[in-house]
Each structure stands twice: as structure tokens, then as C-alpha cells.
Symmetry: C2
Subunit: 274 residues, 2 copies
């Protein structure tokens, strides 16, 4: 019998000031956001979707002008600011030949570990970006097996579930959530979906959202850390949400139940053909 | 091009007084709970899980004593109280030979339309009931295509998703939610999961929970109607939560997106084997 190991991880979501079109300034502010963390404990730092470029492009040409390749030395330089125990995830507009992708890079102090391309595009993103060909990404890092998804991806319950079933111990979720109406006293709907997906699979989820507004689009400001029970354990204050979360492969709930072993995967596809 | 039809449905969740062991009294109170609705408009009425028997059985023998067969005339009699435009869903302990099931019957004024057996059993239910062999149930009724799931079933995101993809226009969810701790100001975690699954698939969800406590187990009291945007539009008051909800096969969100067409099902199973 393999005994699951539970351990603590410092989960940090940072929401720096991002100005659309100001690639250099954004890179400088992202760099500053990655400074100042100690290196005593394992840590995940998540930055927003399209953090290098901004989000509300006037047109595809503007996005293309702000896009960078996945091996851009400026991304590598961002990683070089990290301590050896820290992994960072940052969203960027990726240029690959003539194609643009809404991507997220997993950074370490020694380079770019992996890049994920968003596969569920929202609204006008469809006019700018090519969809990725993976449903979220799994990557083994020094802090554990990391899941990465971007914004609208996580509103498809299949994505966090598949990542968790694939062994993700924590989910990094860079987002740009345009503010939508909600009843008084309720959390943002995207937060509710992230709380639910975290709880369904015991998958702590670290969300970095924008603040303020961009070209008339107000942001939700949903930067938060959600623990494996689905509770918001830290919310953004002065640009940062940080909490220690427990990461574990243990899915047991009480003496008779296990969130994964209780699944009936043989039954789940039956209705789709009906 | 097929234009999706949206229409209004009266969604009612009733949480009558249920006493464990009092089969006759429970049936009487369930019957009374089904009276008094007019028949002018299409209506779905949902009653709790194991409403005929109660939930906190001393042992399997007690459950067996309180179980009834799926063609029990007392279930048929419950249906006979309904108007022609009303569908009711009620949980009961089902006896089939030597097996017991945690089941829900779909009742019409002219009989029992279908029976669903819970396939994800919680805690000591595993010592009492045989799991069902379907992941929720789809049934075509006079009010539309109905999805039925029971309690813990809905904490598996696969279930409401598969039902919605199979064409469910509304989900009837009989539950018995034992009260669990939650941070101040938060909704019950099971409610959050139902809000998320409703929003992910635009699937209005009608939850009938217990009230008070049974043999020392306090209930959450989560009886509610959730609309297709994932918002709680009615909560239990004096045993009833009722609201008109819009049911539709339309999954469009804005000019570029559709909750179902945006799915990438070819990608969703990739991580499971990793």
C-alpha cells in the first residue's frame, strides 16, 4: 500500500499593474513582482493571463506586435529572479511563426520548464489566437506535479478534473476575468466554479486575475488562493493573495469514501450518445 | 438551423417533515406536500432523498423494513395527486429481491414514469444499498427532458455534465446533506458545487434537502432552486423553495461562445493515462 504524502506549499497569486501595449514596463513590473520572496520553503507564484501584453487588444495586429516567442530571453530573465524552491507561472502572448497563442510559461530560476497554450478561447480571443491542442497542462516540477490552465479553460469541468486525475497536486490558473453582474453577496461565478472544481478533486487552485480596468473593461479582481476543500483561504490585497496550502494525492473522505475511487468512469459517457 | 426553444417552468423543492421509521406518516406528509399546487403551468416538484423512510438507519435490517418496491401502489397514489402538467421526483428506499437501492421515482398523475438508483453511495449507505448502474437518469416528460441524480452523485462533475450533454433541460436533485463545517458567510459546499455545475452546462437544478436533524445528524437545509446561470433564485422557507426558471437547449454565451460547442472532448481524456 502506498501511503499518500501530504505537504505544505506556499501558494502566492500576484496581480501587478499591467498596462496594455507596455511590454517593457509590464516585464519590469512582473520582474519586480517576483522579487522579494524568500527561498526557505517550496513556493508557487502565479501571475495573470497575458500579463506581458495586456488583454483588450484593438485588433490582431496589436496583439502580434506585443507577442513574444516562448524562448524569449526576457521570459528566461523573469525566471532567473526566482529562488531554487520557487516555480512561477505567467501568461504571455506567444508568437510562433504567423500564429499567436494565449500561453502560460512555467518558469524556474534556471529557465523555462514548459509552455501551455489555452485551448478554450473566450470572445474576441477567437479572432486573435489559435487554440492550443491540450486540455490544460501537467508538468512535474521541484514543488510537485503542477496543473496549468488559463481562464475560460477552467469553466469546463472536464479540465480541472482531467488534470487532477492525471496527478496534478495544485492548479495554477492565470486569468483575466471581465467583471460580470452577480447577485449581491455572491462570489464571482468564475470563483464559484473554481471552488467547486477544487473541492471535487481536492485540487488547490491559485488564481491570478487583473485589477482595475483596461480600455473600459472592468476586471473582477478574483486573485485568490483556494484550498483543496474548495474554500478561499486568501484574497487579493495590495496585489497579492498568499496562503500555505496542503497538497496531497490523498483523496479519502471518511471511512467509506474516496473522491477518485468512488468515480464510475464506465458510466459517464453513456448519456452523451443518447 | 434548429432554433432552440426557451420556456418557463415552475420549479418547486419541498422539504416536508420526515420521521425515520414512520413509513405511513412520511407517505401521508409527502402526499400533503404534493397537494395544493395549481395545474395552470408546467411544474417540477422535487422531494428529498429517502423521503419515505428517513436516512440514518440503525442497520441494514431497519432499512430493509422501510423499503418498498418500485411498483408499490403507495408511490402510484402519490403521483395521482398531481395535476396533468406536474412531474414530481421523490426519493425512496427501494426493495428488489434481496437488494436495497437508494432510489428516486419520477411520478406523474397517471403513474410511475421511471426510477433511478443512486450510483455514488455516501458513507454507511455502502453498508446498506447496492449501487445503481447509471450515472444519473434522463427521462422525457411532459415538461421536458428531465435529469435525475441523488445527493453525492452531483459532487462528481461528470454526472450533471453528462446529463446536460444528453439533453437534460433541468436537474431534479433529491438530497440528504448532513451539515458540515464551513467558513462564515459561505454557502454550503454542496450548494457551491450545484451552482457551478448548473452554470457550466446552463442546467437549472432543483434541490430538496432535509430540515432539522435525525438521530443526532443535523441537516444542511439546502433546499433551493438554482437557475441556469448558477444563481440560487429560491431558498427554503417554511419547507418550500419555488421559482420560475427558464429551460432551454440554447448554450450560447455572447457572439463567439457556446458552452457546449466550445468543448474539446477529443482532448479531455489525455491526462488520465499519464
Amino acid at each position: 500500500m502506498v501511503v499518500p504524502v501530504s505537504r505544505a506549499l506556499d501558494a502566492v497569486a500576484v496581480s501587478p499593474v499591467i498596462e496594455i501595449g507596455d511590454l517593457d514596463g509590464n516585464l519590469r513590473r512582473l520582474g519586480a513582482a517576483l522579487d522579494g520572496f524568500g527561498d526557505e520553503t517550496p513556493r508557487l507564484v502565479v501571475l495573470p493571463e497575458l500579463a506581458t501584453s495586456g488583454y483588450v487588444f484593438a485588433d490582431r495586429a496589436e496583439a502580434q506586435e506585443l507577442a513574444i516567442t516562448r524562448d524569449d530571453p526576457r521570459l528566461v530573465a523573469l525566471g532567473s529572479r526566482l529562488g531554487a524552491n520557487t516555480i512561477a507561472v505567467v501568461g504571455f502572448a506567444e508568437l510562433d511563426g504567423d500564429d499567436l497563442y494565449n500561453s502560460a510559461a512555467v518558469l524556474t530560476h534556471s529557465g523555462i520548464l514548459a509552455v501551455y497554450r489555452k485551448s478554450h478561447l473566450w470572445a474576441e480571443e477567437k479572432l486573435v489566437f489559435t487554440p492550443g491542442t491540450d486540455a490544460g497542462m501537467l508538468v512535474d516540477t521541484s514543488i510537485g506535479r503542477l496543473g496549468v490552465a488559463i481562464c475560460y479553460d477552467n469553466e469546463f469541468p472536464e479540465i480541472p478534473r482531467a488534470l487532477a486525475l492525471g496527478g496534478a497536486e495544485i492548479l495554477a490558473l492565470p486569468v483575466n476575468w471581465p467583471l460580470v453582474p452577480r447577485p449581491e453577496g455572491e462570489r464571482a461565478p468564475e470563483t464559484i466554479q473554481a471552488m467547486a472544481s477544487a473541492r471535487s478533486s481536492r485540487l488547490p487552485t491559485v488564481i491570478s486575475d487583473r485589477r482595475g480596468a483596461e480600455r473600459g473593461v472592468p476586471w473582477t479582481g478574483g486573485t485568490a488562493v483556494i484550498d483543496g476543500s474548495g474554500w478561499v483561504v486568501a484574497e487579493e490585497r495590495d496585489g497579492v493573495a498568499a496562503a500555505s496550502v496542503t497538497i496531497t494525492s490523498d483523496k479519502v473522505v471518511g471511512p467509506h469514501n474516496d473522491l477518485f475511487a468512488d468515480r464510475r468512469p464506465d458510466l459517464y459517457r453513456a448519456h452523451e450518445s443518447s
